[in-house]
Amino acid sequence: MFDVPIHGVVSIGPVDLWITNTIVVTWVIMAVLITFAIIVRIKLKKFTDKPTGFQNVVEMAIEAFDGLMKSNGHKNISWLGGWFFTLFTFLLFANIMGIFPGMRPPTADWPLPFALALTSFFLIQFSGIRYGGWKYFKGTYLSPHWAFFPINVLGEFSRPISLSFRLFGNILGGLILITLLYTLVPAVVSYVVPVALHLVFDLAFGVLQAFIFTILSLTFVSLAAADN
């Protein structure tokens, strides 16, 4: 009931690539986002000083995220704003995919949150080393004494795991609750409360978890960048 459906297998030499529902839904989200980005890029030439309609929406989103970036991020990592905005929009679309029929939210499959959390992990290490240098490495890994190196490594590696499990657990929990209710009391759920159910478990929790994932990554990277 909660397995990820597999749509096909592509064999490249000895390697079998499984085209799961997660990958297909991710492609759909990518197509939507890229199309939207191209539309914005074409319309960008017509943007004026007095925003109207479409330009208002775009500027509102960018300004809201810019404020978030300024209030939570260190000034060293302001060049990473584009990455975090992309992460947020992708997670937003990925988490609310459950409201469309036949689609499973791709973040309810653990590899996707873990891959995104791994990028955050490498960003943390990269910005720490870049802005702190040897001091960051010493302060993070050899903190009280060099003998604590293995424990510190474990602590650093637990970060992407907890980050990914937080997103995964929340989205999978909502998915399981909705599926159980649809299976157990189909008459009630199909005709009386599906809107409320999807509103809470897909839309509200999805937006909240996308926000939390982004803001936690931003905070970790910003702490590492401000370490010197």
């Binding site: 909660f2 978030l68 209030s71 937080r166 926000f211 939390i212």
Partner: protein
Amino acid sequence: MQDPLAFVLAMAHIAAAVALLNGILTTIGQGNVAAKAIESVARQPEARGPITTNMFIGLAMAETSGIYGFVIAILILFVRPLINPFLQYLTAMI
């Protein structure tokens, strides 16, 4: 014991229920976070934005242990990694 599989499955469901019990303490912790955030907003209404953001970070941090318990319950119920050793042990005992 008639059917070892039924016994193992029943025990797995009880274990999942026990793993979900840590939701009690997680919820108490999250309630504390929200209560303190509301107190701070009541004391300083102009600092509402940063307090809300930090409250969500704190809520997410407090949620971690509850999520771990939930993931363990899901693993016990649906993935069942230990079912074969238990079944072999029980059938050998019979």
